[in-house]
């Protein structure tokens, strides 16, 4: 057992799976000798050799396209897209090929691969280093979508994703790579070391895909969230004195609907909290499912806390990011109704 931040946990997940399974190969832009711009693949090339972890040309389409061929051969590619904002040149290969291969070949060919990519705001990254495009993947049948919120889950979920027989798009909340973030950008960041979720086993373990985690039990309100927003939501509920049941979804597809339903039926109120652009985001799917399945238990409309329907503007980081104020107003609204 060690204390790890999210980058270290993700790095460890690579090492554990590469050591166990010689078919795991890791590649992407700058991931080889240098170990990735966020250092998630640090040391892998040294430890496992240059044909197990290597740099790729700057071609997200080529990275995913060659990964498809590798998976068809029988390898398990784990590729890094440097920023989620740069995944679009690979979108056709992901949507048209990776997602549908098992289906279109009736499982003759399968695509056990992981596409890792840092996402989300809070780092003054401007329009092209801040996006949360998960909904563009949750709409595509055949993909699994996973988003961890802490080191323990990051390692366990990534190992589960690599071992999963299906393709997984693994979004990493870059704002909390080095420490959790409660939305108060004017306060210093607490390092992961001070949190229980930073206690991470050195060895192999998994956090199963498709299972949400109840971060905090509560009676008054269910909060559905994931990634960085788990921490922002938890802090806001506490600050506003709401006895909220905070659910970290962890896997968006397939969703842990049972946990969601049970909680909302218990609390009668629901708030969905995501970073992404509001319209047609994954928050809408969550609201829809809750109202379809828990309608008669709801005491108020399900509310959404989201990013705005604009690109992410550099200087307006904190006016865009769904922080404590947005949380407060939403909590007031959903509790008042």
């Amino acid at each position: 057992m060690a204390t790890m931040n999210m980058i270290q946990a993700i790095n460890s997940a690579h090492k554990v799976t590469m050591a166990r399974d010689p078919d795991v190969v890791v590649f992407g832009e700058d991931v080889g000798y240098f170990g990735g711009v966020f250092r998630a693949t640090e040391g892998l090339q040294r430890e496992f050799g240059i044909t197990r972890c290597f740099d790729a040309p700057i071609s997200e389409g080529g990275i995913v396209g060659t990964a498809v061929g590798m998976a068809a051969y029988g390898l398990k590619p784990v590729v890094e897209i440097q920023f989620a904002d740069y995944i679009y040149p690979g979108y056709d290969q992901i949507v048209s090929e990776v997602a549908r291969m098992r289906y279109r070949t009736a499982a003759e060919w399968t695509m056990p691969m992981v596409i890792r990519t840092p996402y989300g705001g809070g780092i003054f990254g401007g329009q092209t280093h801040s996006q949360s495009p998960e909904a563009l993947f949750t709409h595509v049948a055949g993909l699994k979508v996973v988003i961890p919120s802490n080191p323990y889950d990051a390692k366990g979920l990534l190992i589960a994703a690599i071992e999963d027989p299906d393709p997984v798009v693994f979004f990493e909340p870059k704002r909390i790579y080095n420490g959790p973030f409660d939305g108060h950008h004017d306060r210093p960041v607490t390092p992961w070391a001070k949190r229980a979720e930073a206690e991470v086993p050195d060895d192999h373990y998994t956090v199963p895909l498709g299972q949400a985690r109840v971060v905090r039990e509560g009676a008054e309100l269910t909060v559905l969230t994931y990634g960085t927003m788990v921490h922002v939501a938890a802090a806001a509920a506490e600050e506003n004195g709401v006895d909220a049941e905070i659910i970290d979804l962890r896997t968006l597809v397939p969703l842990d609907i049972a946990t969601i339903e049970a909680s909302v039926k218990k609390t009668g109120r629901c708030l969905v909290v995501v970073e992404a652009t509001r319209t047609s985001g994954f928050a809408s799917e969550l609201v829809t499912l809750v109202q379809e399945r828990c309608f008669y238990h709801l005491e108020a409309p399900v509310e959404r806390v989201t990013g705005w329907d604009t690109p992410y503007p550099h200087a307006y980081e904190w006016a865009y990011f769904p922080g404590p104020k947005r949380m407060k107003f939403a909590l007031e609204k959903v509790m008042a109704d």
Binding site: G62, G65, T66, A67, T105, L255
Partner: protein, 422 residues
């Protein structure tokens, strides 16, 4: 003023946009007499370990083996034994007969769609002959010859076309989007170009594993314009992948002639030069030239000498698909005018010239092919045609989205079953 004076171009001519147009449109009489067809046997054959640079002159030439009299000439003659050649001839005839019958089946309403490869049979069939049985292909929809050549059952191909009970892809793919792992034939995609970097990835994997199997990717002239073409070329050269990348230049992409993909300025084989990859331009209607070129590139790839881009120059003799009528955009008789001839007739002439074939045997072959295809069709139709499909096994359409069926898909399956009953 920080830059040159804009007034300086006072007399500059107006810029003009060049939009490529094919030489002949419906109503015109095509005349290919000005097309330079290099004589057979004229091109040199570099060693398979040669530097890519040595192949560059070949990207602007045309590797041809069969001369006008059907003799095999020059350094590229693969010197095949008559049995091998007869097998290729047989496979090509089967493909043509198969295409004709399935085209007709579509017209009879037995399925939704069909695509022929008429005039291009030599390319896939001779390639299959030149490669090893366990090398992997990432084909487009015009390499049915690979399956035929590798002995994939015709009935199974037809079951796929009919989306019927014998279709091992469970009716999920459009007709002719075959897939067979067993036969080294990767699942065809509806999305043009995607298979090209996939072939490179497979070859990279084979190299990572120290295997000896190589891969071959296929693409049409039109689809070379897709970004995936460039990804494949880049990754293949960067990692020196053991892959053959084929461009089947049949000069048409639905209604667009190859000039819209850049053929007015350079051959497709020439793309190789820009990446420092070996490249060959080959008469695609000459089965022996195809065989020789693929054999060369395979040897090269298999000995870690790197990838090769091969352009097969041919002509799409029929419509793009059953949804297309080419007389809307090109002269009706153009296929017949095309100077590189018919690949079946040319190989047949060669065998005859060798004294290994005659009209009688050819007629028998065609008759036998016809019988074989008909028999296969009969078998296939016993398992149903498209119009009868999609009412049974509704639950099967909810399988294989993932390894396991998630709750949402399971709920939808139950609802679909209710709809099917209700």
């Amino acid at each position: 003023m920080s830059d040159a004076d804009p007034q300086a171009r006072r007399n500059a001519p107006a810029l003009t946009l060049h939009v490529p147009e094919p030489p002949y449109r419906p109503g015109d009489t095509p005349d290919f007499s000005s097309l330079v067809v290099p004589p057979a046997g004229a091109t040199a054959r570099p060693d398979t370990t040669a530097e890519p640079r040595e192949t560059f002159p070949l990207t602007d030439a045309l590797v041809r083996v069969l001369d006008e009299d059907g003799r095999a000439v020059g350094a590229w003659d693969p010197k095949l034994d008559p049995d091998t050649i007869r097998k290729m001839l047989r496979d090509m005839v089967i493909v043509r007969v198969f295409d004709d019958r399935m085209y007709r089946a579509q017209r009879q309403g037995k399925t939704s769609f069909y695509m022929k490869c008429t005039g291009e049979e030599a390319i896939a069939v001779a390639t299959a002959g030149a490669m090893h049985r366990d090398d992997m292909h990432f084909p487009t929809y015009r390499q049915q010859g690979l399956l035929v050549s590798r002995g994939y059952p015709l009935t199974k191909m037809m079951c796929q076309i009919y989306s019927n009970a014998g279709d091992h892809m469970k009716g999920r793919q459009l007709p002719i989007m075959y897939s067979d792992k067993e036969h080294g034939f990767f699942s065809i995609s509806g999305n043009l170009g995607t298979q090209y970097p996939q072939a490179v990835g497979w070859a990279m994997a084979s190299a990572i594993k120290g295997d000896s199997r190589i891969a071959m990717g296929w693409i049409g002239d039109g689809a070379t314009a897709e970004g995936d073409f460039h990804s494949a070329m880049t990754f293949a050269t960067v990692y020196n992948a053991p892959v053959i990348l084929a461009v089947v230049n049949n000069q048409w992409a639905i209604s667009s002639f190859s000039g819209l993909a850049g053929a007015e300025r350079a051959t497709f084989a020439a793309r190789a030069v820009g990446y420092g990859m070996a490249g060959l331009r080959v008469d695609g209607n000459d089965a022996l030239a195809v065989y020789a070129a693929v054999q060369w590139a395979s040897e090269r790839a298999r000995s870690n000498n790197g990838p090769t881009l091969i352009e097969f120059f041919t002509y799409r003799a029929e419509g793009h698909s059953t949804s297309d009528d080419p007389t809307g955009y090109r002269p009706a008789g153009e296929a017949q005018q095309w100077p590189l001839g018919d690949p079946i007739a040319r190989l047949r002439q060669h065998l005859v010239a060798l004294g290994e074939w005659d009209d009688e045997r050819h007629d028998a072959l065609v008759k036998q092919a016809d019988a074989e295809v008909r028999a296969a069709q009969k078998e296939a139709e016993k398992l149903g045609i498209l119009s009868e499909q999609g009412r049974e096994n509704i639950e099967s359409m909810f399988e294989d989205v993932y390894a396991d069926v998630p709750w949402n898909v399971a709920e939808q399956r139950d609802q679909a079953l209710k709809e099917a009953q209700g």
